[in-house]
């Protein structure tokens, strides 16, 4: 059995090299991260991918290894010599590892990520307030402090935290800009807030990830419930405001 374990370790090393290599390639081709929040949520996702791939190679690799190494050859009958029902060190190691990984994951990326997201929200002294109204099947945006009401295109400045105030006129919707990495459900009879700090200039035309998209089923027009987004420099945003306010 000890000899078999040596083979398993070799299988693990080869599997790990291939799998984590592919992961590195995938992470290099990660889609656009257009906000501070997107970096936090993507960091969490990428960290968990590295970890999941490692666990998959260790556990899945063992299943495949056992299926090959311990299979019965044709014409091979009778029970195996090895009949152990329990092996303490393995069980204890497994138990400690699974508890440790869970605790660690809850702290990072779970709680740390949440703390960072909440921190941005608390530190935002004068966020740009944007009222978002969802209804079947369109989005309308108002900028109460700027005196802009009911525009169908979301225009925001780069580098400033925005407080999206989310309301719905009918059913549940979900406000999501894929490039910004966070989403929030819009619930009837309730008002929700979503804080986003865009960091990348661009528009829906330049990158389809920068778009408002409803991501909670809301009826027939759900797939078309999108709105164009434009992330401008602060100066350009000021110009846009003066051109559009009353």
């Amino acid at each position: 059995m000890v000899k078999a374990f040596g083979g398993l370790v070799v299988a693990w090393i080869i599997g790990m090299a291939i799998a984590e290599g592919l992961t590195a390639y995938g992470v290099d081709h990660w889609p656009l991260l257009g906000s501070v929040q997107a970096h936090i949520t993507a960091d969490a996702t990428i960290y968990l991918i590295w970890q999941a791939v490692a666990i998959y190679v260790l556990v899945g690799g063992t299943i495949v290894y056992c299926a090959i190494r311990f299979r019965a050859r044709p014409g091979d009958s009778g029970p195996p010599a090895y009949q152990r029902r329990y092996f303490g060190p393995f069980v204890i190691f497994w138990l400690i590892m699974s508890i440790a990984i869970n605790l660690a994951n809850t702290i990072y990326p779970g709680m740390v990520g949440l703390e960072q997201l909440w921190g941005i929200q608390l530190k935002a002294k004068h966020p740009l307030v944007v009222d978002v109204t969802a209804q079947q099947w369109k989005w309308t945006f108002s900028y109460p402090k700027q005196g802009i009401t009911d525009v169908s295109k979301l225009v925001v400045p780069v580098g400033q935290t925005i407080d999206f105030v989310l309301r719905t006129k009918d059913v549940m919707h979900d406000f999501w800009v894929p490039a910004w990495g966070v989403k929030k459900d819009v619930i009837p009879n309730e008002i929700r807030h979503l804080y986003v700090t865009p960091t990348v200039l661009g528009s829906t035309k330049t990158n389809p990830m920068i778009r408002v998209q409803c991501s909670l089923i809301c009826g027939n027009g759900h797939p078309m419930m999108r709105a164009p987004v434009e992330v401008l420099t602060k100066a350009a945003f000021k110009t846009w405001v003066s051109n559009n306010s009353f």
Partner: protein, 628 residues
């Protein structure tokens, strides 16, 4: 051995199935259909007349469904099989032959066989819906030549609800569980055989209602049925709510039977330490259903009440829509463990026999199954992290991640069993190993949805679709097929064609992964779920997924043909083809109508997984007083 007076007595022609099949045996099913049809239309038309509306409106449809269901059940033979006796009348004689498959019957084996047939049919039709979805997504906007957005929404709603409640919820519990539960425990029947008989007869009307919901307007909500969208997107939601409630009621009746049978009907010497793993899996799944199913089907009925009675639980100015989410996910996240726990248990049942080794760390495996069912109760909120208040996030993140610890015990036991064994890689074993590989991906990607920051981006994208298809299709349906192949000789007396079974397993494994793995990437790239129309930049991957899905879908015809042909003309099976030490292999194949005839009684004297050379037999047969 526990027994009841009815099942204990000797019945003439105890083998069952010896009389040739004649078409008149199908009459109770035809009668049930006719009564159901009459009940539906009579009630719907009368209600429509009284309320001056039309029969496709919510209220007439609801009453129509209720009376249709009653008519169907009355026609099935429940009147002479159960009710007449309850009022002091004479009960119809127990039917032991082929006819018991076509009418209400208290034989768990007949009920289980009907479950398998029903599951296969439901899987076929819900699978066709999946193919329609994938045709839609072949191009970014197919609404001009294929389904409109409205029909697309109905299609995936029906696909989701049917696959979850009419297939996944009962494939292993209903099809295999009800068949094997009494036999594995050494009991002559389950504790409430008539209730078990009833549980199957609730399924077809519910399935028919959901599949035909487009006729009365369909529903746009997907399988969630969320208010307030539910109330203003087609009266088919009535059939959704009633169908879901009926299917859950049926699961609940089965769960009561499983619990009661395990607690009260074990054979002498069958201590909890010797209960087979598969039965433990059924037990863990049943605890979930008993605790949680009532809250959820009450929720769907309250939703219905908002619609037809004018109440405002979830809708209107005073309604709280999130309360529905709470009730809905209270069961429906744990419901996936109702599918998965019997599948886990099935691996642990099959692997020791295949490796000819005792199950490794058995106590930990049992603790794992029960642990999942207990922790699983408390984590539904991770399905709507994007909607709840911040204070609930850390709590439910922690609990959701914790569920991976007991799940890990199942893998611990499986790996320990494989290690140093002498594994016979027959087709069921191959499918089990593939199911483990798939579930590993499904489980590991679940951590992303449990982790709040990652979930904020991945929630409601194709990442989630990929994740749960890996757990349900990849693990539960693979395990279902493994179980079908493993116990096929016991039920039909014939072997499955091994070449085609293995061929299909590989076909299925390859195209399954080609279909669902790219969906993780689609999710990361911003494809949200439940959309008929998507942006062109997602087209190449979607095309790849769709083409793989067609191969995957076509592959299901292989086991369908294999099972049918093997049943008709397969190789005759020996009594114990796999060399398993479990009790169900102690009776001849196919299982006779009376598995444990009057006159002898089984006593369990040892663990049933001791495969060492010269190990003592775990079961001893002793003559009973009545047999002397």
């Amino acid at each position: 051995m526990a027994t009841t007076d009815v099942q204990g007595r000797t019945v003439g022609g105890a083998g069952g199935g010896e009389q040739p099949f004649v078409w008149s045996m199908v009459l109770p099913m035809v009668r049930a259909g006719l009564f159901g049809f009459i009940g539906y239309f009579a009630a719907a038309w009368i209600t429509a007349m009284v309320t001056h509306s039309v029969i496709v409106n919510p209220l007439p449809a609801t009453l129509g469904y209720v009376f249709g269901l009653l008519g169907w059940i009355a026609g099935s033979g429940i009147w002479d099989g159960w009710i007449r006796r309850a009022f002091g009348g004479e009960e119809a004689p127990s039917l032991t032959g082929v006819e018991r498959y076509f009418r209400f019957s208290s034989d768990p084996k007949a009920t289980a066989v009907r479950y398998v047939i029903f599951n296969v049919l439901a899987f076929f039709f819900a699978g066709l819906a999946a193919m329609m979805i994938r045709i839609q997504l072949l191009t970014p906007d197919s609404t001009s030549w294929w389904l409109s957005e409205v029909h697309y929404n109905m299609t995936f709603g029906i696909h989701g609800l049917m696959m979850l409640l009419a297939v996944a919820a009962s494939v292993i519990v209903g099809g295999m569980g009800y068949y094997l539960l009494p036999i594995m425990l050494g009991a002559r029947t389950v504790i409430y055989p008539r209730l078990l008989g009833l549980s199957w007869w609730l399924l077809p009307p519910a399935a028919v209602a959901v599949f035909l919901s487009p006729l009365i307007g369909g529903f746009q909500t997907g399988w969630w049925g969320y208010p307030p969208l539910a109330q203003n997107s087609g009266s088919g939601i009535v059939f959704y709510a009633l169908g879901a409630a009926t299917l859950l009621t049926s699961s609940l009746l089965g769960a009561l039977n499983i619990m009661g049978t395990i607690i009260y009907m074990r054979a002498k010497g069958m201590s909890l330490g010797r209960v087979p793993m598969f039965v433990w899996g059924l037990f863990a799944a049943s605890t979930i259903l008993i605790v949680e199913a009532p809250a959820t089907f009450t929720g769907t009925l309250m939703d219905l009440s908002d619609m037809i009675l004018g109440s405002h639980f979830y809708t209107g100015p005073t309604g709280i829509p999130l309360a529905y989410d709470d009730q809905f996910w209270w069961l429906f996240h744990p419901e996936v463990y109702v599918f998965a726990l019997p599948a886990f248990a099935l691996w642990l049942e099959i692997l020791p026999a295949a490796a000819q080794r005792p199950l490794f760390a058995r106590n930990w495996a049992v603790a794992g199954l029960l642990g999942v069912s207990m922790v699983g109760v408390m984590l539904g909120v991770h399905h709507y992290f994007t909607a709840v208040s911040a204070v609930r996030m850390p709590i439910f993140m922690t609990i959701t991640e914790t569920v991976s610890i007991p799940t890990g015990f199942v893998f611990l036991a499986a790996l320990g069993t494989l290690w140093g064994g002498r594994l016979k890689l027959s087709s069921p074993v191959l499918l089990c190993l593939m199911a483990m590989m798939n579930f590993l991906i499904g489980g590991l990607t679940g951590i992303f949805n449990a982790d709040v920051p990652a979930d904020f981006q991945l929630h409601n994208t194709y990442w989630v679709i990929a994740h749960f298809h890996y757990t349900i299709l990849g693990a539960v349906i693979f395990s279902w097929l493994a179980g079908l192949y493993w116990w096929f000789p016991k039920v039909t007396g014939r072997m499955v064609n091994e070449f085609w079974a293995k061929f299909h397993a590989w076909w299925f494994f390859i195209f399954f992964n080609m279909t669902f793995f790219p969906m993780f990437i689609l999710g990361i790239e911003g494809m949200n779920r439940r959309i008929a129309v998507y942006l062109p930049y997602l087209h190449p991957l979607n095309e790849f997924v769709s083409i793989s899905a067609f191969f995957l879908g076509a592959g299901f015809l292989i086991p369908a043909a294999n099972l049918y042909i093997s049943w008709r003309s397969g190789k005759k099976a020996p009594q114990n083809p796999w060399g398993s030490k479990s009790l169900e292999w102690h009776s001849p194949s196919p299982t006779p109508y009376i598995v444990f005839p009057e006159g002898s009684e089984v006593t369990v004297v040892g663990p049933n997984d001791n495969y060492a050379d010269g190990a003592p037999e775990p079961f001893v047969w002793a003559p009973t007083a009545a047999g002397k």
